[in-house]
Subunit: 343 residues, 3 copies
């Protein structure tokens, strides 16, 4: 990654509220506080690393507006509302130059059905498959080896990375990003036990994904038994997450890596699942509910609640029990002593 910014370029991108110090270095790279050297820009995004500001060798540092401390000689501080967002603006500029939009067109190696409706501004990369009656919106980019099934519908400005799969009849909104290997529309896991065998319940529904959703690498979203599995606008789903059939996910949720949601469960808006959280089927997680890492949710969660553990219980109680659990050896001894005394 080769970049070159002047401090003035950075100021234009980040709108600092104030500055401290000065540097003559052009900015040629980005680095964490501890790793940065002259010519690097760094930032304080997590208070955990605050002490590293005093010793960083970065030429320019993005800091929160209330940061107390002075730069070293030859070092420039930009005080901004949110250093992480400020950095994102710089990275977005770099991203544009690193990964320019590809030219529109259909690569000759792609296999596109005659009845598919592909906007003229779309890029279909090498070795993609687009089946009959699929619709692909303006400027959407199928990068390479992507599969878009029969009658699937993709909105505008989507980016489907290599190996992403959108099965038949599934729908993506606008600006949806599928990371490599993401699968939209695998069959739901539905069987009925009849005569000693699991008979398949056909899964004839589909998946509907709203605008501005991102789906992680090798994540899997099952189609509904009938009707639809839905993901609301603005929701972000991380790698290797599993979404069962008929699940309803609200808007602006965050589902971290390896989380799983069983069939027919509803997540209202702004729900957060930390990594590896597992949610049983047919439940409702209320608006802004937060589920801890690896928690196993077996009943409904109230709006705004924060639960943790297995089975999941209110977070503060779970933390307290986790501490008391470690004192069990002591507790058993104390009860032994009381019993000895009582005899």
């Amino acid at each position: 990654m080769q970049v070159s910014f002047t401090p003035a370029d950075i100021a234009a991108l980040t709108s600092p509220q104030s500055t401290r110090g000065a540097t003559v270095e052009p900015i040629r790279g980005l680095a964490a506080l501890a790793d940065a050297g002259p010519g690097d820009l760094s930032f304080l995004g997590n208070p955990k690393y605050k002490a590293e500001v005093a010793t960083t060798r970065a030429s320019l540092v993005l800091l929160p507006a209330d940061f107390v401390g002075e730069p070293q000689p030859g070092q420039l501080f930009f005080l901004v509302e949110n250093p992480s967002v400020a950095l994102a603006h710089i990275c977005a500029r770099i991203e544009q130059s690193l990964w320019p939009k590809p030219a529109p067109g259909i690569h000759p190696s792609a296999v596109v059905a005659a009845s598919a409706k592909i906007a003229a501004t779309v890029t279909v990369g090498p070795l993609c498959v687009v089946e009959a009656d699929a619709i692909v919106g303006e400027r959407t980019h199928l990068q390479a080896q992507v599969f878009v099934g029969r009658a699937a519908r993709l909105g505008d400005d989507c980016w489907l990375m290599p190996g992403a799969i959108v099965a038949a009849e599934c729908e993506l909104g606008h600006r949806v990003r599928l990371q490599p290997g993401a699968v939209i529309g695998s069959d739901g896991f539905g069987y009925e036990f009849v005569g000693g065998r699991h008979e398949k319940l056909p899964q004839i529904g589909h998946v509907v994904i709203g605008d501005d959703v991102e789906i992680g690498a090798n994540a899997t979203l099952d189609r509904a038994r009938f009707s639809r599995t839905t993901v609301g606008a603005g929701t972000k789903i991380d790698n290797l997450v599993q979404i069962g059939h008929n699940v309803t996910i609200g808007r602006h949720c965050l589902l971290c890596a390896q989380a799983g949601v069983s069939g027919s469960t509803t997540l209202e808006d702004y729900v957060v699942l930390a990594g590896k959280a597992g949610i049983a089927g047919h439940l409702t997680l209320g608006k802004s509910a937060k589920i801890g890492g690896g928690a196993a949710v077996t009943q409904d969660v109230a709006p705004g609640a924060f639960v943790n553990g297995s089975p999941a219980i209110p977070f503060m109680l779970e933390r307290r029990i986790a501490v008391l659990k470690q004192r069990l050896p002591e507790l058993f001894k104390r009860v032994d002593a009381l019993e000895a005394q009582a005899r």
Copy 2:
């Protein structure tokens, strides 16, 4: 999804034991009880939703034979042995019309080795690869971008969805369905620590999958170190499940999403792993054993046993302990009080 059934069509597919009420609406869609409107068929598959029958606007409702209650005007009830199975028969009919069998033949973009034996009734879709000496049985469908490795053997009537991978020498029975991105025959995770390094133990065995097995999206099944990893007939494996090398899975098991089975473990017939369950290596789970969601099994499980928790213990004990654990703060206080009194 566009359908059109008369009540008589539905009766022919579901063989109701009795009916109540009447409707003049043709059935044009399927919907959950709460979502259904006129022209929709709905069903009561989970007693949890029983109260919704009284208020559903569905024109036709499939209900269990012992259901007590009368339809609204213009509404028809079909009382059937198993509403979920009855619905499956309707969905299977819809599935046939939605997803007709593709015509046999090899797509010109597929890369098929001259020595592969492909039955004349097989469909090899676009951009598939079939390596040397592979055998593909009658009517099997490789949908798109599928990989079938050297000397792999696929039975009749299989369906390999986009991006599914069957590595060299692995075998599928008849009517096996691989969801998108499923990997059959990745290397087992076997190393020997020698001289400060992990030396790879070559994994030269394969995977043998029985008839009527379904493997979920992005699930991974490792080939044996030598000999075979096996999955018995009728077993269903959900998305993102991991099966280690030399595992033996019996017939008619259910492995729910994100479960994992470590190397050399045996699951006898009819074992059920709930989502995210993890099974250590070199164990035996007896016939019909049931493992709770997220449970961590570290020792053999007796036939018919139901275990839960981490480490897994008998289900009822685990539930009881989960409740008592939440009373730990109280218990500590009670012991404090006893000690104060005893002083």
Copy 3:
């Protein structure tokens, strides 16, 4: 798998310290002790199966040098330093004959950018994509349907199995093996919550993988926000493992199936994560730390420590608490009795 070895061939491959008994059978297969018959070679790699040596029908058995016991008539024992390693030498020989190196060259169906630098000894299999400015080292094998992104760099003697993905600018060392569907360089999961929405933090870094690393099927490794996510030489990563952005993994680590490591965490050399272990972000796991199966690590782990449970605590304490937890029903009864007595 068809093989044929004489006992002398096996001796040449395994250098036995001593032998007991004799067999006239040529070795035509490998099998576990319990499954082996005449003509099979077997081995004792795990002491758990020691009792099976007395009854195995294998013609030749690899045993540890200190094994006490005599072969049956017509049976040959080889006593070796490490039976598992000895077997690996035999399997490596079989592997070479089973899976010969493919001839170098670029398959006509592959799509390779003109600016990609592909060594003459490389094999690019069918339907692979290699984007602009990618570099592929000597004898590296892209098996089929592999994706190598813009400016990615692959070392010598790598093997990328079907469907493996190396995204733009990511780097592999020498002798790296990617199992099917592995994804290197998906976007990190980074968002900033601004105005009720999760704004994407562009992920413009990359992934750097050292020599002799193996990555499992459908595992996912995220690119850094900026700078790099790294995996040290000799580390082995199993199927469905998730590695977050900016993670640093040392050399010779083992990460078992379905483990996950959150962003910016460091694993020093020789760390072992058992299956399904989850590590929170911004932590350090010291050299040779061992994390139990399904453990949830929420704070730094000291070098050499072995932790388990959720949240993870020292292994022996966790085991003791697991036992005491099962005695909670008894403990509550004992406190009830003490209280009754105290009244």
